[in-house]
Symmetry: C2
Subunit: 157 residues, 2 copies
DNA sequence: CTACGGCTTCCAACGATGGGAAAGTCAAGC
DNA sequence: GCTTGACTTTCCCATCGTTGGAAGCCGTAG
């Protein structure tokens, strides 16, 4: 099997297959005399495993651990479960952060007339929470953007 | 005010201030004879506006639009609200995707004994849904990783 | 004068992926 | 045997927002 065949069968692009090989996530494929990578069914299974784990949002690091456990006959399922639990916790953390943003935005949007008038609580809030609070004491800010807004962007993006 | 001062007052790193200037998000600062950027209170306000919008997860593109509206006295609040609504929809889409991953993982983790035994539904699922279904018909897979698993990773990360 | 901290620009890296160019390879059809 | 087209190879670049570092200039306190 050439790389294009494995790609079709595994759902992983040829670009990514070469990348995974390059970073050592999968072993270097054997080559034909002409330099073409050659694969067997085993490799398709491995790439499908990778794709499914990525679809579930596992990081490359977690994926590396999962693959090691996958190929370890004497693994303890507790180790797998621990990784899954850690990932679940991380996902839930992100969900909560996104939810906090959504809640704050929804709150602001509800108070915006959304008409031809330039008056807009959303912009007022972005311009400065303190001044806004002085003028619109009823508009309490939520977590995001508070006194110590903690740059979370990177973690979320 | 030098760039360090605005950075402290606005909460935006000097690196990012220069970057925002470079990509045209903010106008180029005036310079001293020695080439130092000089700022006024106005600039601090603008950077705080940017930081708050980023904290709420707005993209740079949306941010550009918001800043244009912010400085437009004749804006219609409807335009601002529309951007906010679009962003809310995007946030909710991401939340749903993360939630789907979480649900699928929780389901798998629940069925994993998490002991010293190598038997593990999580790994079996990653290894191949079809074979797993044949052996564990009660373990139905969720959305992520199904027949057409659609690469969503990029959108979420 | 010296030392230190702030400022400047430029370059690189991150993580995972896609795009594309230039060149070599293979197989089918003529 | 030759052409053609699909496939493969490596290499470089771009994304997106942000951080880090290096080399060198500036400003001020001691």
């Amino acid at each position: 099997m050439n790389i294009g065949d494995v790609s079709k069968e595994s759902g992983v692009s040829t670009k990514m297959i070469r990348y995974y090989e390059q970073i050592g996530l999968i072993p270097a494929a054997h080559r034909t005399e002409a330099g073409y990578r050659i694969y067997r069914d085993n490799d398709v299974h491995r790439l499908r495993f990778i794709r499914r784990a990525r679809d579930l949002g596992f990081s490359m690091d977690q994926l590396t651990q999962l693959m090691a456990l996958w190929s370890d006959r004497h693994r303890a399922s507790a180790d797998v479960k621990r990784i899954a639990r850690e990932h679940i916790a991380e996902l839930e953390r992100k969900i909560h952060e996104l939810q906090a943003m959504t809640d704050a935005l929804k709150h602001l949007a509800e108070h915006c007339h959304g008409d031809q008038d330039p008056e807009c609580p959303i912009l007022e809030d972005l311009a400065g929470a303190i001044e806004v609070e002085a003028r619109h004491a009823d508009l309490t800010r939520f977590g995001a953007g508070g006194a110590d807004p903690v740059r979370r962007k990177k973690e979320i993006q």
